[in-house]
């Protein structure tokens, strides 16, 4: 399952994809049993037994991207869990080392765990079903995986995979981001470490909130790596509420049919008439300023009357500023330039705040390729994003698999039930599309944009 495909302004001229994905992996011990060969679903990244009619497809996600695992030399799971192949690439080494450095805190957690048996109660898991005092066993039966696929110009694709154990959210012993960022040991909490999806979430949040919550800038490698991250946006993704709101605002604005101004040419060609004695215009008012046309105005410009094609007359200094914002007649809405019409019955009654108008403007212009990828839960960008990560496993796949515990796997169902969200670079045309497909019923409900 490809969860998220980051397009990052990354290093030098390369176009890498960072693919975050998670797996729920059934124990290979089952796999090696003498049952008939299992199949592998490339959407779920999981072994399964497919439904065979009409074509083999995954019973879980209905994907037909399934593979029968009969050739041990070509095990699709190899791609999933990989060999951690760090290519001999200085740039990537730097990135990988930095990432590993952060994730390495996780290793400490694990080496500590025998001393501090994970008292981590998994809310969804009956304690009796998995004695937590079993030393050396991971608390969770999941892994997350960060895989970085990167193809150098013309060169071979390179893959870096790192993975780690998962700790599920909602546990009081899991440190908050601020606690995590401060890296201050909390003696009262022996299990004061995070890993897996939460680690990623914190990591990305800290990237997004540079400098970090403890006032330190993140490591240099991250600064160079994610130049766009400081605004809570990294490429096409957002990592905090503010950035999400900005995206929502953009979406709303792009959906909003703004009035189309008149061109200079159109305005210059409008018939002008200088008031004279006896002109019938002197009987009329300018609808903008509500003053009657008069020969005795202080401003000589107000002797110049512009009559729109709909025959409505205005003072030139009254109508011109209006036409610069909307090429319509203020009185009858005659359109000098075709205007967007926004009474789409499928549009819903929504509003989005634009508290940072200027900032948004700047951001918009500086990131014209920003894509409309958002989730519909206001504060839930992470929860959606990382729900996928919670179907997790121990860091060491083989080791963990042999000790996998049914009870641990339950949280994965939440993530699993969601359809995989894959996005790929898409031109900004989506900004201009509108209509029911783009604007379902609730603000931020952009399921349709997640194609």
């Amino acid at each position: 399952m490809v969860l998220m495909s980051f397009r990052l302004p990354f290093l030098s001229g390369d176009t890498p994809n960072v693919i975050l994905h998670s797996t729920t992996t059934t124990a290979p011990s089952n796999m090696s049993s003498n049952r008939e060969p299992l199949w592998y679903c490339h959407e779920c990244n999981a072994e399964m037994r497919p439904l065979m009619a009409p074509d083999p497809h995954c019973a879980s996600c209905n994907s037909t991207f399934v593979e029968k695992m009969e050739n041990p030399a070509d095990d699709p799971r190899e791609f999933q869990h990989g060999h951690g192949g760090v290519e001999d690439d200085a740039d990537m080494d730097q990135f990988f080392a930095g990432l590993q450095h952060i994730l390495g805190m996780n290793q400490q957690a694990r080496t500590r765990s025998p001393d501090h048996p994970p008292t981590v109660p998994n809310a969804t898991q009956p304690r009796s079903a998995s004695p937590p005092s079993q030393p050396g066993l991971p608390v969770s039966s999941g892994t997350y995986t960060i895989r970085i696929d990167r193809s150098t110009n013309g060169g071979p694709a390179r893959t870096i995979i790192t993975s780690g154990p998962s700790v599920l959210g909602g546990d009081p012993s899991i440190p908050r981001l601020s606690e995590f960022a401060s890296r201050t040991p909390r003696p009262t909490r022996p299990a004061d470490t995070i890993a897996g999806p939460l680690m990623l979430q914190y990591l990305l949040t800290m990237l997004a909130n540079r400098p970090g919550t403890n006032g330190q800038a993140p490591p240099d490698f991250l600064q160079g790596m994610f130049p766009g991250a400081e605004n809570g946006r990294m490429g096409d993704y957002v990592f905090n509420q503010e950035a999400l709101d900005q995206i929502i605002t953009q979406l709303m604005e792009s959906s909003q049919p703004h009035p189309v101004p008149a061109t200079e040419e159109i305005m210059n060609k409008l018939p002008r008439e200088v008031l004279e004695e006896g002109s019938p215009l002197l009987e009329k008012d300018c609808a903008v300023c509500k003053d009657q046309f008069s020969l005795t105005t202080e401003d000589p410009d107000e002797q110049v009357i512009v009559t729109l094609p709909c025959k409505h007359p205005f003072h030139e200094p009254c109508i011109m500023p209006w036409l610069k914002s909307s090429a319509t007649c203020p009185v009858c809405r005659y359109e000098l330039v075709p205007q967007p019409h926004h009474h789409d019955p499928n549009d819903s009654h929504t509003a989005s705040s634009n508290a940072n108008g200027a900032a948004n403007q700047a951001q918009r212009s500086s990131s014209p390729t920003s894509r409309d990828h958002t989730e519909h839960q206001g504060g839930g960008i992470f929860s959606n994003f990382f729900n996928f990560m919670t179907g997790a496993h121990g860091q060491d796949h083989d080791h963990d698999a042999t000790s996998s515990n049914e009870g641990h796997a339950s949280p994965s169902s939440a993530g699993r039930s969601q359809s995989p969200a894959q996005t790929s670079p898409r031109p900004s045309e989506s900004h201009s599309r509108r209509g029911s497909q783009d604007h379902p019923q609730a603000p931020g409900a952009w399921e349709h944009d997640l194609d």
Binding site: P330, T350, A351, S352
Partner: protein, 153 residues
């Protein structure tokens, strides 16, 4: 030279003082040409019978080319009407205050429009996205991009 808005607002104010305001609309406060307050009441049979609301108008120097920022007053004395187009913070989703603003409109014509909007309401309820909007709404409703979806209410 005074802002364009001043001249126009002077004229509107004089008109109000000379000719009065329409039924159910009263000028509460217009001490300057930046912020005005008016009260709004739906007379006759309506879901808002007996309720009095206050409207706050804020004018930019470019008024009437630029639309006024109009919202219902929400304070210890006034409440925003319970209406599908009125958020609990007083912000109003009405196209004439946004993309369909026209410099032909005036303070009084806006009031009449909103009075009519209330009078025709058949279901007193908040907009469906009220909570989310209010949580993040800018102070000035003009900074909100509303999407207008029906002419019914």
């Amino acid at each position: 030279m005074a802002a364009v808005s001043t001249r126009r607002l002077q004229k509107e104010l004089a008109d109000i003082k000379n000719h009065g305001t329409p039924t159910g609309i009263t000028l509460l406060k217009a001490d300057d040409f930046e912020t005005w307050y008016l009260t709004l009441e739906v007379l006759g049979e309506s879901l808002y019978k007996g309720e009095v609301f206050a409207l706050k108008f804020r004018f930019e120097p470019g008024y009437p080319i630029s639309s006024p920022a109009v919202q219902f007053v929400v304070d210890d004395k006034f409440r925003a009407p319970l209406h599908p187009h009125v958020y609990s913070n007083g912000h109003i989703c009405a196209s004439i205050l946004g993309t369909e603003w026209s410099p032909v409109l005036s303070v009084i014509s806006v009031c009449i429009t909103l009075q009519s909007m209330l009078a025709s309401c058949k279901d007193k309820k908040r907009p469906p996205d009220n909570d989310r909007y209010v949580a993040h709404a800018p102070e000035n409703p003009k900074k909100t991009q509303f999407v207008y979806h029906d002419d019914e209410v």
